[in-house]
Symmetry: C2
Subunit: 325 residues, 2 copies
């Protein structure tokens, strides 16, 4: 019998990651590229197909076969129709049947999940969530995603195409406008986009006069990483952006602890690399905003799989769906 | 064999309700009294014991026996120790071993739940939640309680002594102070206490000059019902209190729909009798604050068991615990 492989793919607002993964969750080959969704969903889909074909060739080199592909995509998705219903951070992907397309091009079964749910499946399989029954997952990237694990399983709610969307919980209804059109979502306080937007506004207001940021006219290219570096250099206005981020995360997580009667959260995604700047404000905010739990009993952990969590989760999904059959 | 009965008891911030209930959920005898917690936990506990003895006597008249007692109590509770850990609306009950006390006095097994969870068990057994898999329960009384039903079962989280505490989710961190000590909880916007406090403040600010409310010096005795009647008479400042209540409920429920990926809520408790004044603002707020669902797919229903829901739920708990043994 040929060696059995799976492909995990994570299509985020900024990056597209794909990997060939074996049964036990070891990565055989890993690829990362820009999603570059502004060039259209079809282009992005074509690049995804190319990447999968490359991984399939690799699996043949190893005398193996790719049994199935798992896809984690940012946004509200329809797993049965294999399409993205809508996605604030991948607007061009709206209604695009990306999973169907990929299945036709590769002739391999494709399964689909929201990218933050895929993050949850990854951390549950191989990461920080392995031994915890109930936890809230948060992914900090271009946007803010989330998931909910109950009884050691990913919670899918009423199967409406979304669940765990912590990024669109409203933290402050008079707060900044979000990519989804509402005001004051967690995402508008705690995402990479929110950091960049906040820093740009600071620049416009000349709060960063001695910063190493590019001039106001060039802020289109600012990255969350630039904002992080600026805060590390001690710029107070930029540090405040991370404090706001921690405050908002603590409020959202605290509210969910209060309602769900649970006490553990796992935070990942690229922007969680700024952990040292937001974790203390987050913990203070949790204490201030959750009256049901003592500080010592609340657990907030960092993802163990880093930027590969959703990739592993997508591979797990692919594997699990084949086992279920 | 003797007829099998159960006692359900609901100890709220204002009223104490007890009933003798048969296997199928019919009420044989019902009693209602003031909780009057300001006279102390011991006094309240003594009255509860008296009420239970009266119901036990009734069951004997009917040649039956009371197999067990279920207790729904407002606050964070420790079901194993049979005590209230703390309760913003029954502060005197803190650490009082009310279930142990009752069990000793009656020599009947006593089981305990938070009152809003008991509400959920009642609506799940005989009310509006019977045929819905996943829903959020909200009880509007002196405070705001809540519960979560997942897969047709009451969700108990990590068994920390609380779950479904929607009343202490923070809606507006700069909002009014709550009985729990935090600012801007749902309870501080949408409870009977919040209505009374709001109306008293309006009185003090002379916004209710033509109202039939008592004079400012007598507002200690204001009841939510008075505030409701005043709003029905068309007083704009009072109508605004119910609009704020609907707004806050819609925001909290919308946030939970977004995170849980579910779409149904059931609202009960004494103050839900003001339904006609808050339901439209609530629905508008839901639409404004939940970007994941269409208006038509969100369901908000009124409790079917009215002020007896928690009583039925407590009786169900008593019955179920005996069946489990």
């Amino acid at each position: 019998m040929k060696r059995q492989f799976y492909i995990g793919a994570d299509i985020g607002g900024t990056h597209m990651r794909t990997a060939l993964v074996d049964q036990r969750g070891s990565i055989i080959e890993y690829q990362k590229a820009l999603t570059d969704i502004s060039r259209g969903a079809e282009q992005a889909s074509r690049r995804l197909t190319e990447q999968c074909h490359r991984l399939m060739a690799k699996s043949e080199e190893l005398s193996g076969t790719v049994r199935s592909i798992g896809l984690g995509v940012a946004g509200k998705i329809d797993p049965l129709q294999g399409r993205v219903i809508f996605s604030p951070n991948l607007p061009e992907m709206r209604n695009y049947p990306i999973a169907i397309e990929l299945q036709e091009q590769t002739q391999v079964p494709v399964f689909m999940e929201n990218d933050a749910n895929a993050f949850g499946l990854g951390e549950l399989w191989l990461g920080a969530g392995r031994e915890i029954g109930n936890w809230i997952g948060v992914t900090l990237g271009t946007g803010v995603g989330g998931c909910l694990v109950l009884g050691g399983k990913l919670w899918n709610g009423d199967h409406l195409g979304f669940s765990g969307e912590i990024g669109h919980m409203i933290i402050d209804s008079k707060g900044p406008v979000c990519a989804c059109g509402m005001n004051g979502c967690l995402e508008a306080h705690a995402s990479g986009s929110a950091l960049v937007k906040g820093a740009s506004e600071n620049l416009a207001a000349s709060l960063l006069e001695n910063s190493r940021f590019p001039q106001p006219s060039h802020t289109d290219n600012l990255e969350p990483e630039d904002v992080y570096q600026e805060a590390l250099r001690g710029n107070p206005a930029t540090i405040k952006l991370f404090e706001r981020m921690g405050w908002a995360l603590g409020l959202a997580i605290g509210n969910l602890f209060t309602f769900l009667g649970i006490r553990c959260a796992i935070i990942g995604g690229g922007v969680s690399e700024s952990w040292d700047l937001f974790i203390e404000p987050l913990r203070r905010s949790l204490v201030d905003h959750c009256c049901m739990l003592e500080e010592s009993s609340m657990i907030v952990k960092k993802s163990q799989l880093g930027d590969k969590a959703a990739l592993f989760g997508a591979a797990w999904l692919a594997r699990n769906e084949m086992i279920q059959r």
